[in-house]
């Protein structure tokens, strides 16, 4: 990760400030999707859109194959392009902690933030929802800001059966995330985008995390899947 500080809101390594981060240990993820469910329950996330999701890829050649799970969420980037893209300041950084959050009452729904996020972490909420009246604005993972500020861990972290998700203040040298990031090789997604993501992966293989050529010559069944998905899950 680059050490250059570009944005004024960067708090990684700033004394006296918290900087929350998540470590995802891919060696421990079993792909049970409990985190996706916990997140859906915590935030009443509508059908077809996700604050966190667990895609998988089958890698290797028979008989040496395995499913490579890669839990995904907003990376609460230190230099977030979504924040600079928003014309009305509806997406912003909470300096103490580094959370990237939304002002739902301010968002005009121009989707510039969605276009600018290199990680597809943002989505548009549907026009009507049963239990929540926040509609037709952009939403995303909040690192469970409401729980973390109460001393709880994020819902996905709390529920993870394999302890694959670890959360904490990376500015605190005694925290588990600090120890893991300091002592193990970790990777962030697309470091070349200059976003300085704060979700660190252990065991991430760049060969499987990026889209490969199969995106172009994908099997027909995948395209049918995609069409069915789009049809059933129009947000």
């Amino acid at each position: 990760m680059s050490e250059t500080r570009l944005s004024s809101s960067e708090t990684h390594g700033v004394p006296g400030k918290k900087r929350y981060a998540m470590v995802i240990d891919l060696r421990r993820c079993i792909g049970c999707d409990a985190c996706m469910v916990a997140c859906k329950a915590e935030f009443d996330v509508p059908l077809g859109v996700f604050r966190t999701w667990v895609p998988y890829k089958v890698v290797g050649t028979y008989p040496n194959v395995r499913k490579h799970f890669m839990p995904r969420l907003c990376n609460h980037c230190e230099d977030p392009p979504c924040v600079r893209a928003c014309p009305v300041g509806a997406t912003y950084v909470v300096e103490d902690g580094g959370f990237v959050l939304q002002h739902y009452d301010r968002c005009i729904g121009c989707k510039a933030c969605m276009a600018s996020c290199p990680y597809n972490a943002r989505f548009m909420l549907p026009k009507s929802r049963t239990y929540t009246d926040i509609t037709s604005v952009v939403d995303k993972c909040t690192f469970c800001h409401h729980r973390v500020t109460q001393g709880l861990s994020p819902a996905c972290v709390q529920t993870c059966i394999g302890r694959a998700r670890i959360f904490g203040d990376i500015n605190d040298p005694a925290s588990e995330v600090s120890r893991l990031v300091s002592t193990l090789p970790t990777q962030v997604l697309r470091p070349e985008e200059g976003t300085k993501p704060h979700v660190f992966y252990i065991g991430l293989d760049r060969n499987t995390s990026e889209f490969g050529r199969e995106v172009y010559s994908r099997p027909e069944v995948l395209e049918e899947d995609r069409q069915a998905f789009n049809k059933n899950h129009q947000a």
Binding site: S116, P118, F123, M124
Partner: protein
Amino acid sequence: MGDFNIFHHMPWSSAYSIYFFTIGISAALFFMSALSWYREEFRTLRSSAFYLSFVLLVVSGLLLIGDLSKPARFLNTVNPAYLNFSSPLAWGALNLLSFGAVSVAYFFMMRKGNEAMSRKLAVLGSLLALGLPIYTGFDLTVHQNRPVWNTPLMPILFVALSLVSGAAVASFLAGKQEKLLVMLRQIMLWSGGAVAAMLISLLGTTAYGGTGEELTFMFMTSGTLGAIFIGVGILLGTAAPILLLLAPFGRQQGGVMLAALLLLVGGMALRYSILIGGQIVQTYF
């Protein structure tokens, strides 16, 4: 394979490309009307080009507002307490509004026959009009993760596209004005040539880029999008009209109008495919 992924949607729908098209034409038509104060050939376009520019500005504004998921909040974009100047959209909103205001003032000064003021407003309006394609280009180019969009060419390409499409529309308003048609033919040729040159660089850098760029190149040069981008946008809508304008028939009114029609179709196809092309690959990540 047998992979599982969440299929993400493209944030910006094709409606934006219609907006790019109409706002580009509106800007260029204002420029033609403004030119009429300084070049006699454009005199006949003074009111007609301005009126059409204004109608298209209103249509573009409505398109833009209609595409927001919270249309009633569009005024947030000019709320000084909210404005975020690191976003090209914020600059765009201010540019659009000030262009609208100058257009209205220009209209009244023209009606009053106040030549001195009209001339000044024509220059000011033209500068603001130039800002419109530039900001739409920046809208795309600032997204560093998007192939095709993230190139310094985008703002300049949009200015050239705006001039081509605007001159094409103006040639329908020009009637049989020989001198004006000669000027419009020149504008179409030069800006069309600039578009062609930029498209060649764009294709080259995209094809030789990283994985995302390469895949985007493949999507944009094959299948349906390939037909729209290469077939309609480049061959039928840029190369063919340039050749036509260079041919003897291209110096006659019929030839200019046929080339203008092709350039308009091409301009729309190019804007559409650039907008969509930059978003396809990302939906798989």
